[in-house]
Symmetry: C2
Subunit: 167 residues, 2 copies
Amino acid sequence: MTVNPPGRHDLLTIGQLSERSGLATSALRYYERMGLIHATRTTGNQRRYARGALRRIAFVRAAQRVGLSLDEAKVALDRLPERRAPSGAEWDGVAQSWQSRIDEQIAELERLKAKLTGCIGCGCLSLTRCSLYNAGDRAAAGGPGARYLLTRDPATGPEPAARELTE
Amino acid sequence: MTVNPPGRHDLLTIGQLSERSGLATSALRYYERMGLIHATRTTGNQRRYARGALRRIAFVRAAQRVGLSLDEAKVALDRLPERRAPSGAEWDGVAQSWQSRIDEQIAELERLKAKLTGCIGCGCLSLTRCSLYNAGDRAAAGGPGARYLLTRDPATGPEPAARELTE
DNA sequence: CTCCAACTTGAAGTCGACTTCAAGTCAAGC
DNA sequence: GCTTGACTTGAAGTCGACTTCAAGTTGGAG
């Protein structure tokens, strides 16, 4: 299974892009419909991708990894120029936003880890004392949008749901 | 909207559990169908939850946060005794497995972060040199199933996917 | 005893992210 | 110039994780 010879093939077919990105061609078409990547067409109407597409895809996958939707990834990618190849600084700006996102994500995992050791695994039946157990109620009591320790759906519930559970 | 009076109500209605867990009642019923939580029934067939349900829910949410499906969470929870309240040691064993899972997750995010700074944001147009850019190609060349740097489908590829990117 | 919010059920709907399918077109090696 | 595999399209299907709906039942305050 030889990959196309290195050289001046600047444009990739969807099959080649699939092979290199690890995504199914159907996914690539889907990404295109979503506006995440773009292709030129041959006279015969087949897609041809510039190599920049690989980078965009890499970015999208990275975004998904840190918990973003394709729509969110698109918002970020839309900051890049479409026609010409983005400059380093441009990519940088986009990547920058993920830095913090990733840091956030890491921080949250660290917190979760701490809670897990400190609480879920503690076998504490003194519920009033258990942070994991109580955190959600605290947060919820703190105002609308505040959710369970482990939740992060921003769309749901402005209710004063889940009060303090000291009991 | 008063919540039930504090006292010796050991069993929670689905509404109360919803309020305390932050999950919709529909989600709780769904969790029950999935076997993640269990309820006893009143003579009138209404669900009553023991307080342990809250802990199980906390666990499930935690599991989701680190990227596990409900099915996977169930596997872990199934290690707990159903009838009686799990002991600290039992919870500990379950939580333990998440420790490593979380660590893994964190490590991967750290890697991602490093890559992002080092590459996506680097603006390097010397593509032969760009790891993120090339990782996919390497992987693809490495054989079928080899996936992109940012993927983690475990079903796919024990390949030497995405090698060290010194080049 | 009455009333109404809170509960019950099964079935169907939703959403994101794709995949699968059918039916047809393109392109490149012989 | 023919064949064959890679490509094209739109529509429909899938999967996980829920939500919504309709129609009926329960339970606790007054």
